[in-house]
Symmetry: C2
Subunit: 204 residues, 2 copies
């Protein structure tokens, strides 16, 4: 059935070209400033045809959200090779910030933009997020098992660590802390300050 095969390939190619165009526009103009017509124009297609690939604009967002969480997970799995628990946990935090700063538009879609719960299945997003969060909890648990922060509740510690990481990243992306044009040195400083205090928090 060569024809059916080609058809399906064309379908998935169209699908991914829509996603690619959407993401590139989201990066340049921000989610809310991208319209279906703009996406269509970019790939020389019609806006209405997009609806045969995605239920609506939110579903395009969801697909990219999914990609984002996959990327984050991938990045997080890299540090799992480190054997010393505290070292691994700190590297985990480092990787988290790296992901966020290097893929700030993904991060924006994943954690910062408002997703109206009438139209959007927030539960599905939470499932994606949880699969990343579980890895953090695991790394925290192994620290506690190894004698760090004795008696501390694992979930509480994990939550606080995530908060701290998310906080600095969110402030940066929303430009609450700096307004000057991109400054790598300042970014590195933010990261090292955060890691410095994480080091303090994980203690024997």
């Amino acid at each position: 059935m060569g024809i059916r095969e080609r058809k399906e390939k064309e379908k998935t190619e169209m699908r991914s070209s829509i996603l690619k165009a959407a993401m590139s526009l989201f990066i340049d103009e921000g989610y809310e400033n991208v319209s279906m017509r703009k996406i269509a124009r970019k790939i020389e297609y019609s806006a209405s045809s997009i609806y045969s690939y995605f239920e609506n604009k939110d579903m395009i967002l969801f697909e990219l959200l999914h990609e984002g969480f996959e990327k984050l997970k991938e990045k997080q799995l890299f540090v799992q090779g480190i054997t010393e628990p505290k070292e691994r946990l700190i590297a985990h935090g480092d990787a988290y910030m790296d992901f966020a700063f290097e893929n700030s538009q993904y991060y924006e879609l994943m954690f910062l933009i408002h997703k109206p719960k009438e139209r959007f299945d927030l539960h599905k997003v939470k499932v994606l997020g949880d699969s990343c969060y579980e890895l953090l909890v695991k790394n925290v648990a192994e620290c506690v098992e190894a004698g760090y922060n004795k008696g501390e509740d694992v979930n509480n510690l994990a939550l606080f660590l995530w908060s701290s990481l998310h906080g600095i990243v969110a402030l940066y992306i929303r430009q609450a802390i700096i307004l000057e044009e991109f400054n790598k040195q300042y970014l590195d400083n933010i990261k090292s300050v955060t890691l410095h205090f994480l080091q303090q928090l994980i203690k024997k």
Copy 2:
């Protein structure tokens, strides 16, 4: 000049009734889902007339932003009565979270929604934010002076504390951590967990 006076009073009354309607709609429907026509309808006015009070929709947001920062500052000044530096700093964090959870829609406008920098003077927003942040820096500085976190850079510590507070608040408001309906007990837990770790961070 009684007429001129009354005129001006009517002007400011209209202005504040627009703001009031806008805020109430923002709370119910979220900033991006509120239109000028909706605001006008709410106060039985015309959309075009609003433009003689505010340059555009973003300026309404800016005005409410301003209100939000005033409210936050007010709340923060309350704890300045506490004399013991660490106690005051912790209370500061508590007040910050209280403000955010009690006025989550203000918080959303102030720190979470995307404000397009082409149309929006982010520098003005930063000035508003800085006047609140300075108080935090001051309280951190007085802790360090009192012998806490000896040798630690005041700005770095303040930044990390703010990150942590902002992080937990932002995750909650964006529903990244819970999806069930409002649960006061869970909220209290989040707050106490955060304060617990702040306590750990501020040490002699």
